[in-house]
Symmetry: C2
Subunit: 107 residues, 2 copies
DNA sequence: TAATCAATTAAGTATTTACTTAATTGAACA
DNA sequence: TGTTCAATTAAGTAAATACTTAATTGATTA
């Protein structure tokens, strides 16, 4: 799994941006007003989100409308669902190896 | 949505720990050997993961077996699935408000 | 009780991050 | 062509992060 995706979502401001974009498109200026943050700060956040392909910008004249890319969220959701699922019981599941301690109590 | 969860998963080492724990339990020492990292470093990572309730430690004597808590991963998976789903078309979805630009082109 | 062992905490450090203001880029239009 | 506007990039900074080694805690056992 890619920690870069989590890193992009690990900032409160960026997460708010993502939540806003999940509802509709926004340009940088609109986001900066909503978030009471400089356009520069928003622009830098958008770069982070763009770089990991969570959003894409569509240019109209000198505006850029940012929109959420749904696929990576879907993929991440599935990967986390996988993590949430306990593995099938394995034959090689010796407790010593499992826990790695010399005097491991059986779990 | 809570950015703290993403922050806890945003570090490559911690993500590896979580992936390991998704398969079986480990004690700190076993993880430190697997990851070729000091026990101290691992312990500090475990604290981060514990603090956001992604793992729990069970003590046996002076060992602590760490295990993944499945629920928060399931919950996060569902929240991301929600994000991945486009909102129903809204009546209040005026493009000017939508995008926030003075001369917004209709999306 | 003293020695042992896993785990945590303390202290220090190099790197990364999230912002700011100022300067730059690039398209639109009077 | 020159002005205007959105967006990005540059430069600087305070705070957070991920590690290290050393010291401490707390339970086990000789």
């Amino acid at each position: 799994m890619d920690s870069q995706l989590f890193k992009a979502l690990s900032d409160g401001t960026r997460l708010r941006i993502v939540e806003l974009l999940s509802g509709r498109e926004y340009c940088v200026r609109a986001l900066s007003l909503k978030l009471r943050l400089s356009e520069s700060a928003v622009s830098q956040h958008m770069k982070v989100l763009r770089d990991v392909n969570l959003v894409e910008g569509v240019s109209y004249g000198y505006y850029t409308h940012y929109r959420l890319r749904r696929e990576p969220f879907e993929a991440l959701s599935l990967a986390l669902r996988e993590l949430a699922t306990p593995p099938a019981v394995r034959k090689d599941c010796d407790a010593k190896e499992q826990v790695g301690c010399r005097t491991a109590r059986q779990a």
